[in-house]
Symmetry: C2
Subunit: 220 residues, 2 copies
């Protein structure tokens, strides 16, 4: 029974990583489609959503069943509780990637406002944060989680920069307003992906340290 | 011991309701401050955030401790797991209310673009959804939760209406762009509050029915 239980924990870990890989890929493809103006790539992203939704349901079920049948305590319980919370955040990252594809559907039918530099940069950092957060989860590495959280400021900074730049485009030429607005919303979706990655990091730190770092204000 | 356990469950229920009341109040006050142009009211909203953050930490701790010490199964475990998930969504509703106060801080220093009609209407519906979701949680009433979810379409519809209307203001007079953009973002914050209320409803339905209705597409 002991061994079987360890295997269950390992399989839960793998399922979480699989889902994380999928939502990272969704984010990557959605932004790539927008930047490279490849409208056919958007369908790929949408096709991935069904798998993510199924994994979302599966992970919750696995966790609840393990809690009920195995009655884990201490570290294992914190691991399973973290998996349930991470599951929610990953699913919402997938939702945000879908939101990006919806903006892209409009943006790819109209001429570009400007070459996109900061938006793909935001996506890169957000994906990096997600990868680090999940690495931190599977390795119980709270230092990696702390470092990933620090990158959130960079994403916020880029989001403000995107906003200010597009504002000047809109003021100078009102014909750009609808397109510029959609780009601003894309940057907000990426900001939220980074926020979800931050949530995952906080859950990992709680899991490792048994300590709640949420609501402590900015990290040193 | 049996009685003590029931008391713990009752106190968890009350703590969830207390936090729900606080985040509802934050939403209400933030929008009231914006509509009635009462800048001093914004400080009240910010003052409530500290309490919400403390309750967020408390509820997670109570839940994990109950799972570890009481080893609940079946319905009780689903109730506790639902409380943890609802906790996350309530905390994020509080975050969104704070985001609204930040937009309001700017908007109350500049002349109004237009009288606000749809935005307070969105806030009313979102608060109603949250109240219904929490009522459904404490009474285990899945029908109430189903009905609350249906109101989300109305919020989305109003959000689109706000967007279209402000777009025409911006196109007609670029000087309104910065203010109109902030109002669009306020409507997005309210949309997200309604989304979190929807998440809570889905968690309640899962708790009551032991059935996952997430990712089933639009409800009939």
């Amino acid at each position: 029974m002991k061994k079987h239980y360890r295997e269950e924990l390992g399989s839960l870990r793998e399922t979480v990583l699989r889902m994380g890989g999928l939502v990272e890929q969704m984010t990557h493809r959605a932004i790539q489609a927008l930047v490279e103006r490849k409208i056919e790539m958007l369908a790929e992203v949408k096709a991935m959503e069904a798998q993510v939704n199924q994994l979302h349901i599966d992970i919750d079920e696995i966790c609840l069943e393990m809690i009920a049948l195995r009655q884990p305590t201490a570290a294992d319980l914190r691991f399973i509780a973290a998996a349930m919370k991470i599951n929610t955040d990953m699913e919402r990252i997938g939702d945000q990637a879908i939101n990006v594809t919806e903006r892209a559907e409009f943006l790819l039918t109209v001429p570009p406002v400007k070459p996109l530099i900061d938006i793909p940069r935001m996506a890169e950092i957000a994906k990096e944060m997600l990868r680090d957060a999940l690495d931190a989860f599977v390795n119980g590495n709270d230092e990696l989680a702390y470092n990933a959280i620090k990158k959130d400021d960079l994403v916020d900074h880029l989001k403000d920069q995107v906003f200010r730049e597009l504002l000047t485009y809109m003021m100078a030429d009102p014909a750009t307003i609808p397109r510029a607005l959609e780009l601003i919303l894309v940057s907000r979706h990426l900001e939220r992906i980074a926020d979800h990655a931050t949530n995952i990091c906080e859950d990992v730190i709680f899991m490792v340290k048994g300590k709640d770092i949420r609501h402590q204000g900015p990290l040193a």
